[in-house]
């Protein structure tokens, strides 16, 4: 396959950045998207040009490190992570535009790498349960209804990649927060800190400069883990309950 790639280049956070065009030959349809970029970087390296910086880690779709805006869709045209997207999803001669996540809360570090530590700070504000460490308690000592356990598990699959924020026209991180709120809210262990969790997480979210949700649904369409939109309704409900309880 022969491709034309329009890629965002930005030397540093202070740099203004611009789109650059690269032609790439001999792309195999079996390559992953990141392997295709690896090939491009080898060529750039050989020609003495600075390779393109992009994030990746596990390359098996479970860590949440990779994430590129590909032709206007986070992680590209398939419901998966960028590392699990393969070049067979494209055609010979295609032009592909690759950009970093665009969010004021995810500043560009270099080229396609963004700093998502704002997500870590949201989690620090309540995306956990406070328990003493020690020997694990007997698994059957706290019973969880099957439906609740299933829902908690489904939404706990969020890998924090930031595709929801990248897709959202408002730059909101509501799907990310909703997943954690729903995950812990469905479980008995999550009840003690339920009110303070939602208020503190939303407070941090707003402080980081993420936008407000307008229930458009582009986040859930972009989510590689298919987190459903109803977690945002759950988030809103939890906040309303916390408001009622005076938090």
């Amino acid at each position: 396959m022969k491709l034309t790639l329009n890629i965002w280049r930005q030397a540093s956070e202070a740099d203004k950045g611009a789109m650059h065009t690269y032609d790439l030959d001999n792309v195999s349809p079996d390559m992953s998207f990141l392997e295709m970029l690896d090939v491009l970087n080898e060529e750039l390296n050989a020609s003495g040009e600075e390779p393109i910086a992009f994030d990746s880690d596990c390359r098996e779709g479970i860590c949440g490190m990779c994430g590129l805006m590909i032709n206007g869709e986070p992680h590209g045209p398939e419901v998966t992570t960028t590392c699990q997207l393969h070049m067979r999803s494209f055609k010979d001669g295609d032009e592909i535009t690759i950009e970093p996540w665009r969010s004021s809360a995810f500043p560009v570090v270099k080229d396609l790498c963004v700093d998502r530590s704002s997500f870590d700070r949201i989690i620090q504000q309540g995306g956990y349960i406070s328990v003493n460490t020690g020997s694990a308690p007997e698994a059957h000592s706290i019973q969880v209804p099957k439906e609740a356990a299933d829902r908690a598990f489904d939404v706990a699959t969020c890998i924090g990649c930031g595709a929801c924020v990248a897709a959202c026209p408002n730059g909101s991180a509501s799907l990310f927060m909703g997943a954690k709120i729903t995950h812990l809210g469905e479980l008995p262990q999550g009840q003690a800190e339920r009110d303070t969790r939602v208020v503190n997480m939303v407070g941090q979210h707003d402080h980081e400069g993420f936008g407000g949700c307008t229930n458009i649904g582009e986040c859930t369409a972009a989510c590689p883990k298919e987190i459903p939109l109803d977690v945002i309704s759950q988030l809103n409900r939890d906040l309303r309950m916390a408001m009622k309880h005076g938090h």
Partner: protein, 250 residues
């Protein structure tokens, strides 16, 4: 990375690498959304009543005028003359101020949340109406101002050029107005915009109030939103169109 570099790094952004203390639910973006949802539901209740009143035009001159008059004497003598009308007006005015305030705050926040735009951006998963909310809302606000100047404050009969009481009784003013094609056109465009606003707005309100917490409820509220938007748009469009084609006459 050195700590000094970190502080410097965030200096130019909204975001700061600090953890917020003392967050309040009432100061959050979700509180603004709740404000929009509740005031939006007040508007929906009102437009349903307004639509019912308009449809009285099909019962003829006397029934329509009687209804219009009764709105002013409703609740007398417990309420003063036009008492109910003024209560509704005050509630609506306060609601519109809060609705617009919340919208402007969220709109500004959204603009700051993405200062560098994408070169290419698709809108997968979004219904068309959801992309019209802000400018559609501005259009509706301008329409409401126009509508009030036309029928409430000015009582302008665009056909005869008369204003105030000389413009005719409510029924005759209605027929004269919608016999004018361009006025009917303005109203039909505005009602289409209202329909789009409600199509996304009703669903959005349900989602914000936390009523759409599972797949079934989400499906239900999507349907409720679409149906209500359709009923309101068609219900409002019926009277002007019927006047224009001659089904409703003086």
């Amino acid at each position: 990375m050195a700590p000094a570099r970190l502080g410097q790094r965030y200096g130019s952004f909204v975001a700061t690498p600090t953890l917020v203390k003392g967050s309040r639910s009432t100061r959050s973006t979700i509180a603004l959304k709740l404000l929009m949802a509740v005031t939006g539901l007040i508007f929906i209740g009102y437009v349903l009543l307004h639509m019912y009143g308009n449809l009285k035009a099909f019962s003829g001159h006397d029934a329509f005028n009687e209804y219009a008059h009764h709105l002013r004497t409703f609740g007398e003598p417990m309420l003063p003359h036009e008492g109910l009308l003024w209560i509704i007006r005050v509630v609506l005015l306060v609601s519109v101020i809060l609705h617009v305030y919340a919208a402007v705050m969220l709109w500004r926040r959204a603009q700051k949340a993405r200062t560098v735009k994408y070169v290419v951006k698709k809108h997968t998963g979004a219904i068309f109406a959801s992309r019209l909310m802000r400018w559609g809302g501005v259009t509706l606000l301008l329409f409401v101002i126009w509508h009030l100047l036309n029928f409430t404050v000015g009582k302008v009969n665009v056909k005869t050029g008369e204003t105030g009481d000389a413009a005719g009784d409510p029924f005759n003013l209605l027929v004269d107005s919608f016999d004018t094609w361009w006025l009917t056109l303005i109203y039909l465009v505005a009602m289409a915009m209202l329909g789009a606003h409600l199509h996304h707005g009703i669903w959005s309100a349900a989602q914000t109030l936390g009523f759409a917490g599972n797949a079934q409820a989400r499906w239900f509220w999507r349907k409720v939103a679409f149906t209500t938007a359709l009923v309101i748009t068609v219900g409002f469009a019926l009277v002007p169109v019927s006047v224009l084609v001659g089904i409703i006459e003086k």
